[in-house]
């Protein structure tokens, strides 16, 4: 061990004697490691961003028929939904289901293609809908009575009536030649930017956006009774409660539909952005990291090259050392220490530079990226740079050690 430190000291002395050359050799490794660490860190940051975005949309979860396990007749009934609503705790804001059809809405102004949603009362709080500005939503009573009522938004009111003050007015809705006269009991807000967007769609020649929400039990009156739904949505106040609520709902529904299979209902897998982008991002990061790794290999060849030059230059020194009693292993160790120190030190400098660059990118938020230093990348970079030293140092070191002392001494 004592002797091993001597070899390290010899190696350090020699690197120090050839400062300029050693640094230039190191530069290859430094650049390689810096790029690997920085690129992997940027990749990490991008992934974190996507992950955050994915988590942000998680206020609503959907429980659906398990299409893989169960026959397609299995549905969630209105009773199921009512039971869910009474069973789930107060963290759940709304439990709703809905089915949409296309129909026609007719007033004195004319007949318009309409997007008709058959819904349960909690659809009032459905994802991506706006709040009511006038009136109120239909109730459980309206559901059980199949009340002829509807909810429209301000944009629809403008199309059908020319103004938004239409509470209590009626419209005629037709689906598949069934007609019903519905009175308007609630009006949803249409935000100004939605009006702006609608104007642009109109200018592009797209049809008017007319939507009508009605109690799902009215489906009987339209000749197409709805027995139930293939999915039910749960809206929670706090997204942290979402998955727990979904699990409870799946349990309740599965216990109510037990005879039909082990797992008739499951939680719908949200379109997981991390699932979608994760592999792509990992792939891109891996690819760029690989390109950077090639520069490491080039750096390694630089180390080997300079070590070979060093062996040639120091042939006489090697001869002297061997004459004085250095063994093959002593010479190999000395030269190997040199190449490992050069590449290892290059690696450390590279990691520091990479960490610095990462911090700088995060600080300046270049391209909005918050790069985060990847610990595995740092560890791999350290091992890799020392490995480069060993792999590319072993050949020159063995070449040095294999010299016979008289040949080495004779040369000059």
């Amino acid at each position: 061990m004592e002797q091993f430190f001597e070899y390290i000291k010899m190696a350090v002395d020699n690197i120090w004697t050839n400062k300029g050359r050693s640094f230039l050799t190191m530069l290859g490794i430094i650049i390689g490691i810096t790029s690997v660490v920085t690129i992997v860190s940027i990749g990490n940051g991008l992934k974190d961003d996507v992950m955050e975005a994915a988590n942000a949309q998680g206020n609503t979860v959907v429980v659906q028929t398990n299409t893989e396990e169960v026959t397609d007749t299995e549905v969630i009934t209105g009773d199921d939904i009512a039971f869910l609503k009474s069973s789930l705790d107060s963290s759940v804001k709304a439990v709703y289901a809905n089915i949409s059809f296309s129909g026609k809405a007719v007033t004195r102004k004319g007949a318009y293609d309409a997007y008709v949603t058959f819904a349960t009362p909690d659809y009032e709080h459905a994802q991506y809908t706006s709040a009511l500005t006038k009136g109120s939503y239909f109730t459980d009573n309206d559901i059980s009575n199949s009340a002829s009522v509807c909810i429209i938004d301000e944009l629809t009111a403008l199309y059908l009536f020319g103004n938004t003050d239409v509470l209590g007015m009626t419209l005629e809705l037709s689906i598949d030649n069934y007609f019903q006269t519905l009175s308007i009991i609630g009006i949803r807000e249409t935000a100004d930017e939605m009006l702006e967007a609608e104007k642009q769609y109109q200018a592009m020649g797209l049809p008017e956006s007319i939507s009508v929400e009605i109690p799902y039990t009215l489906s009987n009156a339209f000749g197409n009774p709805i027995d139930g739904f293939f999915s039910v949505s749960l809206a929670v106040y706090d997204k942290d409660d979402a998955s727990r609520a979904a699990r409870t709902a799946v349990q309740i529904l599965n216990s109510r539909h037990k005879p039909l299979g082990d797992e008739p209902f499951i939680q719908q897998k949200a379109i997981d952005l991390t699932d979608m982008f994760g592999p792509i991002m990992d792939g891109v990061t891996a690819f760029i990291a690989m390109v950077a790794a090639i520069s490491l290999v080039v750096g390694g060849i630089g180390v080997m090259n300079i070590m070979l030059v060093s062996v040639t230059e120091r042939t006489r020194e090697i001869g002297i050392r061997k004459a004085l009693g250095a063994k093959t292993i002593s010479i190999t160790t000395q030269f190997l220490c040199e190449s490992v120190i050069i590449s290892g030190l290059g690696g450390v400098i590279g990691i520091l530079l990479g960490a610095g660059l990462t911090a700088l990118i995060s600080f300046l938020e270049i391209g909005g990226i918050k790069a985060s230093l990847s610990l595995p990348a740092v560890i791999v970079a350290t091992i890799f740079s020392c490995g480069v030293g060993v792999i590319f140092g072993i050949y020159p070191a063995r070449k040095a050690a294999a010299l016979s002392p008289i040949d080495a001494l004779r040369r000059m």
Binding site: D13, T328, S404, I406
Partner: protein
């Protein structure tokens, strides 16, 4: 006197076959503990080959070599490294100091390979440099020293590990007359203190200062005789007068 070196029927043949060169041709030789020997010959005579074999830097094509009673003719490279480290102190014509180590660092080298701990090593190296009169130059690099001083560092390196044999290959070949005599005085001093010293040289003046002269011509021992000690004494006197 006890036998230190015994070689028997040593051959060293380069390019075996049609153009073979017999650098050493059936050489047998015995050297005892405490001798001061000159091996003399012209360049190409085979004296350097003999020196390489005596120094365990090279192995003979055939023949046997006993060093301190141990047969070293069949040893591996690593074993030969140990023999060189423990039994032999080398002094070369070209000094062969390592340029980026100071005098102390150079003298330390054989002690490092012997595995002597740092503190003791430094003390031994410093002592050896003191013995050759360079205690004031320990931190000097070779290029900051004169030729004579460099060779004295080399002598210190050769004796620091206290090997039984000092093998000097043309130790004065690159030196002026004054430095030559300094080195010769040191070598003779080492001999007086009981060390075996073998000097390889082409210079009859150097050979005359030793006890025993072995002359090699064309790979064979031509002469092997003992100098008259009185002669040496007169020679030294004469030398001193002429300076």
């Amino acid at each position: 006197m006890e036998t230190l070196i015994q070689i028997e029927n040593i051959h060293k043949i380069y390019n075996p076959g049609e153009n073979e060169v017999r650098a050493l041709d059936n050489v047998s030789l015995t050297i005892h503990h405490g001798e001061l020997v000159a091996i003399i010959g012209h360049s190409g005579s085979g004296k350097s080959t003999l020196m390489n074999i005596l120094g365990c830097l090279d192995v003979p094509t055939s023949g046997q070599y006993f060093l301190n009673g141990q047969d070293v003719s069949g040893l591996s490279d690593n074993q030969l490294s140990d023999i060189r480290n423990q039994e032999i102190g080398f002094i070369f014509q070209g000094f062969n100091l390592i340029a980026n180590l100071d005098a102390l660092g150079n003298v330390e080298l054989p002690l490092i390979y012997r595995g002597i701990p740092r503190q003791r090593r430094r003390r031994l190296a410093a002592l050896a440099l003191k013995k050759v009169g360079l205690e004031a130059r320990m931190k000097h690099k070779p290029n900051e020293l004169s030729g004579g001083q460099q060779q004295r560092v080399a002598v210190a390196r050769a004796v620091a590990a206290q090997p039984p044999v000092i093998l000097a290959d043309e130790p004065t070949g690159n030196l002026d007359t004054k430095s030559t005599q300094e080195i010769m005085d040191i070598l003779k001093g080492l001999h007086k203190s009981g060390r075996t010293v073998i000097i390889i040289t082409h210079d009859d003046d150097i050979a005359r200062q030793t006890d025993r002269v072995i002359r090699i011509i064309d790979g064979k021992i031509q002469e092997d005789y003992y100098n008259n000690r009185e002669d040496i004494h007169d020679e030294v006197e004469e030398n001193n007068k002429s300076h």
